[in-house]
């Protein structure tokens, strides 16, 4: 049992087991980046902290930072807010420099990989990655083969998930290259902290976020076909029932671009138009937050109401840019993930700066046997799902769950990958009125246009349940503001 006895509001039983804590080191001392925070927390009573917390949560509800879970069969829709934790997560500038370099390298390699896959496929010819892993991949879109994409940039916005292990080392947990969400929460968290916890905020020199949206907009504009100078950029959303809808609205507003739904667009003569009051207006760049499968009913799922018929045709004709490019999902598959270090070596001739979590590919007999023998120590994920669904967390699973998963793996090994359970780092979090350690991760946002830029900080997600390693908001996870000093 570790204890923190320095302050009024930190509990004696902070974390029940050994773990890397962001604020407190193994001897019980406070790490340098957190000194002022620990001091402030120790001067605040729990009541003050709780009152502050309640005001902040109420503000989120007022702002409508919610997502909707559609009510089943005539029942009311449920609107939920994402819990916000007032104690920020701090990253030292030394750590950040390393992360930035590593992320730039990784995204560059990933982008090159996607290009390669849809062109000569050198990496497959040279057998660095098994061919079937790409060609059998449901996210591989054959329509993209040979297509020229503006500036050869397939992933202008990506979300790379990072964690720290028991030794405090950073690892990449996952790449999200299709429609990474959460950017709005980064900005709203910062706003909340500035308004409600300003004394603490202004005691630190936190790197600014505000240029972030400008950077994204520049990226998007730079992707206009034929290098058009004042391109019309829009954000395509599935609409208000999508759980990331707030994110879409926020991004559109911050960038000053129209938020459109599929039904607002029409393709005529292979060009895309917006249906406005004044008639049809041509669109040059679509930042789309609709999944590949729903984008165009004439090419993908035919009964999709969210897409635009003929959109892919316009894309192929080079009359509109779609970002992130369709088919980019071939690179954020959880099995392909294990090859990213190889991609970095292959394309960039460099050693990876950021490590991958060791991953077992279950189609390999040796891997599979090992995993099945040690299932209770493993985290098993479905290759093509996200949001924390369909996961097995071995250490906290029941015997029934383990048995059930073993059967699933035996039946369809190509659907799963496994990783040893990593005890994620913890961060002080306000839980039911007490400050306790809770596991966190970090989603870093990378913008790729003419160059590659990283948003300082990103989204720190926290698993609100004691001992839980699942941080996704759909599973009840919360959020913290992230400070890069």
């Amino acid at each position: 049992m570790r204890s923190l006895t320095q302050s009024k509001s930190l509990e004696p039983e902070y974390t029940p087991y050994p773990v890397y804590d962001e604020m407190v080191d193994a001897t019980g001392g406070i790490r340098l980046p957190y000194r002022k925070i620990a001091q402030t927390l120790s001067h605040m009573s729990l009541e003050e902290l709780n009152t502050l917390n309640l005001s902040m949560q109420a503000q989120w509800v007022r702002e409508g930072i919610t997502f909707t879970l559609k009510g089943a069969g005539g029942e009311e829709d449920l609107e939920r807010t994402i819990p916000f934790d007032p104690i920020p997560r701090v990253i030292s500038s030394e750590d950040w420099v390393k992360l930035e370099k590593g992320l730039q390298q990784r995204v560059r390699a990933l982008n090159t990989f996607i290009y390669d896959i849809y062109h000569e496929q050198h990496i497959l010819q040279d057998e660095i990655i098994p061919k079937r892993m790409v060609t059998d991949n449901p996210c591989y879109q054959s329509i993209m083969a040979g297509l020229r994409v503006p500036r050869d940039v397939y992933i202008p916005l990506s979300g790379i998930d990072l964690i720290r292990d028991e030794n405090g080392e950073f690892y990449v947990l996952e790449d999200n290259l299709r429609c990474p969400s959460g950017l709005s929460y980064v900005f709203q968290s910062r706003k909340l902290m500035k308004h409600y916890f300003h004394e603490l905020f202004f005691e630190h020199r936190v790197r600014d976020l505000d240029r972030g949206m400008g950077a994204l907009l520049s990226c998007l504009r730079s992707l206009a076909p034929d290098g058009k100078s004042s391109p019309a950029v829009v954000l395509l959303t599935p609409g208000r029932y999508n759980s990331a809808y707030y994110d879409h609205c926020f991004l559109a507003r911050q960038m000053g671009i129209p938020l459109v739904e599929g039904r607002d667009l029409a393709v005529i003569d292979r060009k895309v138009y917006m249906k406005t009051i004044d008639g049809l207006q041509q669109v040059d760049v679509i930042y789309r937050r609709v999944d590949d499968d729903y984008l165009d009913p004439t090419v993908f799922l035919p009964n999709s109401m969210l897409g635009v018929p003929g959109l892919m045709d316009a894309y192929r004709a080079g009359h509109v840019a779609l970002t992130n490019a369709p088919g980019a999902g071939v690179a954020d598959d959880k099995a392909i993930y294990s090859y990213v270090p190889d991609m970095i070596r292959y394309y960039l001739n460099e050693e990876p700066l950021l490590k991958n979590v060791p991953t077992f590919i279950l189609t390999h007999k040796v891997h599979r046997e090992y995993v099945l023998a040690h299932l209770s120590e493993m985290v098993v994920k479905e290759r093509f799902l996200s949001g924390g669904y369909g996961m097995l967390i071995g250490p906290s699973a029941t015997r029934e769950e383990l048995k059930h998963f073993a059967e699933k793996i035996a039946r369809n090994p190509e659907q799963y990958i496994a990783q040893p359970t990593i005890r994620l780092s913890t961060s002080p979090t306000l839980v039911k009125g007490h400050t306790l350690g809770r596991h966190i991760d970090l989603r870093a946002y990378v913008f790729m246009g003419e160059d590659i830029r990283i948003l300082p900080g990103g989204l720190t997600r926290v698993a609100m349940q004691e001992g839980s390693l699942v941080v996704n908001s759909s599973q009840g996870g919360g959020i913290k503001d992230t400070w890069v000093l």
Partner: protein, 324 residues
């Protein structure tokens, strides 16, 4: 430059917020002027049935709540989500529309409507009765007033603003005409010609229901005659809920839309033509003896308003092929 879907949502935001206010006022008035309304020997049931009919509900179809017809009507018109015209449903719909337009509508406006919604979501019949209906409905009207004020001060006076105004004015016109139509029908049913003195209470209620009692008094200090009241509600150029005032504001909004861009022009012209028909009907009323005007004149007015709404929908919210 806005999208068709956006224009339609905005128009309906204007209509819903206005509808909430008029319903709140109507229910409040009926609740508190029950003595005036019962003076002809009717029990409360009849009075509440009439209220339901005024807002366009079939009285017998209202589900019984708490075993009291009065409570059933109040609940049905205020909270019932299955009733698309209840205060709750209108507010929910308006909020959803604003939510789908959050990229175009100022945060302050969202804030105002969202807080209003969060408050109303937490209310029920029991709480309504506890805080007294008057306090409750006053709070509802404050919510809509906040919306009106905030939209006026926070929004750019572009398309978005004008479409909201258009919706509001169409709803206002329809509300008054429906009130009058009902009054005439009611008068015919109960063998009370509106211009007779017995109708005094009914007239007072009408004025209160339209929020016109004090304004009317400023123009007609002691002459509460039916003709004067109808004249006031139809033609007074200063009273913001008179049909003629609503018509002018609507014409202003349509003209502004017409001048905002090429595509809106034709649709605006068509809509203005329809609005003009309303003006024609209004002129007919000023000529005939208001006291003996037949019920179908109200019917004509309502039809004209419906055509206007349809023209706005058809002209603005449906696709055209024009490429710009």
């Amino acid at each position: 430059m806005i999208m068709l879907r956006t224009a339609e949502s905005l128009f309906w935001i204007g209509r819903y917020m206005e509808r909430i206010e008029s319903h709140a006022r109507l229910i409040d008035v009926h609740y508190h002027m029950r003595h005036e309304l019962m003076s002809t020997g009717q029990g409360t049931q009849g009075m509440w049935e009439r209220l339901a009919a005024i807002v366009g509900e079939e009285p017998s179809s209202i589900p019984i709540h708490n075993e009291s017809y009065e409570h059933s009507v109040i609940h049905y018109l205020t909270f019932e989500r299955k009733n698309r015209n209840s205060v709750m449903s209108c507010l929910q719909q308006a909020r959803e529309n604003i939510r789908s337009l959050r990229d175009r509508i100022p945060d302050e406006l969202w804030d105002v409507v969202n807080c209003f919604y969060l408050w109303l979501k937490d209310q029920d019949l029991h709480k309504l009765l506890q805080q007294t209906p008057h306090t409750f409905y006053q709070r509802v009207r404050e919510g809509t007033a906040l919306f009106q004020g905030m939209s006026e001060s926070a929004m750019l006076w572009g398309y978005e603003w004008h479409f909201i105004q258009a919706g509001k004015q169409v709803e206002r016109m329809e509300t008054i005409v429906r009130l009058l139509q009902f009054l005439y029908k009611d008068g015919a049913n109960h063998d009370i010609l509106p211009h007779q003195a017995d109708g005094y209470e009914r007239i007072a209620v009408l004025l209160h229901a339209a929020g016109a009692y004090e304004p009317f008094r400023r123009f007609h200090a002691d002459d509460l005659s039916f003709e004067n009241v109808v004249q006031f509600l139809l033609f007074n150029p200063e009273f913001p809920r008179s049909v003629s005032y609503a018509y002018s504001r609507l014409a202003d909004a349509l003209t502004a839309i017409q001048h905002s861009g090429p595509g809106g022009e034709e649709a605006a012209v068509q809509a203005l033509l329809h609005a003009g028909r309303i003006y024609t009907h209004l002129s007919r009323w000023s000529q005939e003896d208001i006291g003996y005007s037949p019920v179908n004149l109200c019917g004509d007015m309502r039809e004209a308003i419906h055509s206007l709404a349809a023209s706005i929908a058809g002209g603005f919210f449906e696709e055209t092929a024009a490429v710009i």
